[in-house]
Symmetry: C4
């Protein structure tokens, strides 16, 4: 029995082999920053709400002082040249089973729209802040890698640079193979600190997507908005950390002494 | 398959759009102190017993030297002006899935009685003992916040003051939105130590409830009883801590050395 | 879906309102030492094998250099005056859900034989080795406590002496209440070190059982066999510790650094 | 509901009472090194793919810079004298329930081919690197131990040398008993460091298998290839460690402070 609840928002659009792009929270939130900027710039439309009881059992207090549950959504956008499904959210599933189930559900949805290509976005954590973050890629076919590598500065020699790709960014690549969907991941260098926001890394990825997918996003705007977004995101990030901390505290509390118990 | 067992005690009363008020163990046990005092003063009647195999696997030794399982109950009380459902107990669900399931079950019950409003009670942990604890609120609509803020000293600027609201106090707010139930949380400042009992914080919350809900509770009694309740609660709190400790010990025992094993 | 598999060994005996006595591993293994000695002395017959995939995922190497899976069994014994079901084993369920499920299954079996009384055995861990361990009791009715307290040195003032009673020894008491079965727990003082074997504590409990249940066990034999049993049990105990350690190691391995990862 | 997915690759061969040999990652990867070498040397054919959502939620970047999901496979090999099923993979189930379920599934498959004998391979971790690793064995019948001990230097006095045998190597022995399948485990001494590769230990086990099962493997080749395999395996091992680390980090992150939270 799956723990995932998927609600459709509004009615299904007609999409022509949309490309699914994923950007959930992760290293430096590179993927999240990139996808949230795309959704805003492209005025993408919310289409699905994905919810699970395995999400953090808490609510956020928003700027308007009202509460909201954690949320993951799929948006869509039709452009002249290409159609897109965009996967964004506040959290990503943490445990193994939820992660696999979630990824399969996302691919199920993508396939309903005859999606033939999946792109996942993430970060590679470095010990220091990179001045000019490099973008690496890997994928499930040589063809898709070559297609994106052409005319860009993407480095496709990822083997040995990083360990395994953990979470939804990795699983969507691996599970797409069985579904005959080509999938690629763009991973930008970023500072590996949990609270750092890899906005520069996100910008490097967006440049590539802009060029190869004809998005016509004004990336200079991202540069302008960096300060503003950064302060907002820092707040958000603190909230996520807080949630994990509190869950952890409940579980770890009082594990210190070992003697005087009964049974 | 839900792990929750719900038994009705006696027979269903007729209630007129009762307000559900929750006060389970949490920061400084502010919510628990407040609700237990209300139940006693209002002579509220036990209506539902909620039980789960995800509760601590242990029994408490009571003052009469007999044992009892951990328990969560819903009580009801009819007053001249308003009807109430009161959610109180020894424990609160700890893991994510149990917390969501439990909250949904509670709202299911509330809806059977055409409940239109939910109030949750909790604490905001400070580094020091507050002399005059302030009460904050947040909720799922602006309307309910304004209704309670009127003529009281409640501070509704919670954004940035705390991180997310974890546990049943938070989830009942978030999940009520989907059910078209207005929900508000009163959070009183308290000392953030696990063994501290925020009785003063509870008193500040009770003053607000007394005024806005016409409860006619003699809050001075709480002041008198503070010593007595405090000593009883300290015992109880020690027991909860003990349970977590022992569960934790079983799981953590002997994780220190790393070499001489086999496989 | 329960994870418990219960196999009957041989055919069902006719038992007259048997008393179920539980002694699984716990503090000082007091309960296990007592029940294993009883089973041997009474020549009790194995009747049920209880198995679960939540047991440690490992096998023990026995003295004959062959392997065996962890095991919990229910034995029976008919005496002239009373009939008994005896619950003994290598392990006890660790997590909450398994513990509750297991306890319910055991009571289900007990009820098939019209069992009206359950006794659980355990230890109270002290900071030092007690010279003359005291035996405390608690239960789910005043009647059963008074029955056993009569003419014995049992102390029934357990409130405040210990925290909650964790594990099967506690749950069988709490869950029996709902089934209208009287239940009592005998808890002997013992040294609270995980590797200590409370044989003296077990002996004090056996004296009481011997007297109140007319068991006719030669307890002096236990004194003689202390050395022998002790060395065997130390080996066994080391094995249990080893299992927990290895499971824990697998889970905890490499949780130290926090930076250079990807996602 | 089992979490295991089993796919057959190609079509079922006719096998004559094949011997199942298991070599999954474990102490020093002794079993994995041995079985991977056997599969390569014997040109064994992949027959089943076993997959579970309880595997690490990540993908590996391969030498060709493409990704692949974690995988466990059963291969088969027909030789003149004997037929074999070989169980090998990148990971082994970690939690109790998955381990038991997986082992039962593997035995189910073995029984479809009328398998009468199971061999599991593993390591015994020492504090130092052994110069000439000794091989111990244990099993579920005296007969199978005697059969393999004859004319070899295997030590069958394992009792007291190690604690319990944890994981699939142990469970396959224990669970085979109920299925009337003889099972034996060969455990070679090795250095107990998580990153050490017990290639020498694997070689000692392979010598025994070669002799008793007439495998005709050129073990000198293993000696030659040690350097090459070692460097490859070190990379792989780092990846596994990385996966556990990252999963652990997500779960443990921010568990340090204990005060300022709410609820």
């Amino acid at each position: 029995m799956s723990t995932w609840k998927i609600d459709i928002i509004g009615k299904k659009p007609k999409l022509k082999n949309p490309i699914l792009i994923e950007g959930l929270p992760g290293i430096g939130n590179v993927g999240k920053v990139a996808i949230d900027f795309m959704i805003e710039e492209l005025k993408a439309v919310p289409l699905y709400d994905l919810f699970s009881y395995t999400f953090p059992h808490s609510v956020f207090v928003k700027e308007n002082n009202l509460v909201e549950l954690p949320s993951i959504k799929i948006y869509y956008k039709k452009t002249k040249k290409k159609d897109f499904l965009l996967l964004a959210g506040d959290v990503q599933p943490i445990d193994e089973v939820s992660s696999y189930e979630f990824s399969e559900k996302v691919i199920d949805i993508a396939q309903q729209y005859h999606c033939k290509e999946i792109i996942t976005l993430g970060g590679i954590g470095l010990q220091d802040i990179p001045k000019k973050p490099k973008v690496y890629c890997t994928g499930n076919t040589r063809t898709i890698i070559n297609r994106y590598k052409k005319d860009t500065a993407i480095n496709d020699k990822l083997y040995g640079v990083v360990g395994p790709i953990v979470g939804i960014s990795g699983l969507l690549l691996g599970l797409s193979t069985k579904r005959k969907i080509e999938a690629i991941s763009f991973l930008s260098e970023t500072y590996g600190h949990p609270l750092y926001l890899g906005i520069k890394g996100a910008r490097e990825i967006l440049k590539i997507l802009n060029k190869k997918l004809d998005l016509n996003i004004d990336i200079r705007k991202l540069s302008k908005e960096i300060d503003e977004i950064e302060s907002e995101m820092v707040k958000r990030t603190k909230e996520f950390v807080e949630v994990s901390k509190q869950t952890a505290i409940k579980k770890l509390k009082s594990k210190f002494k070992e003697m005087d118990y009964i049974g």
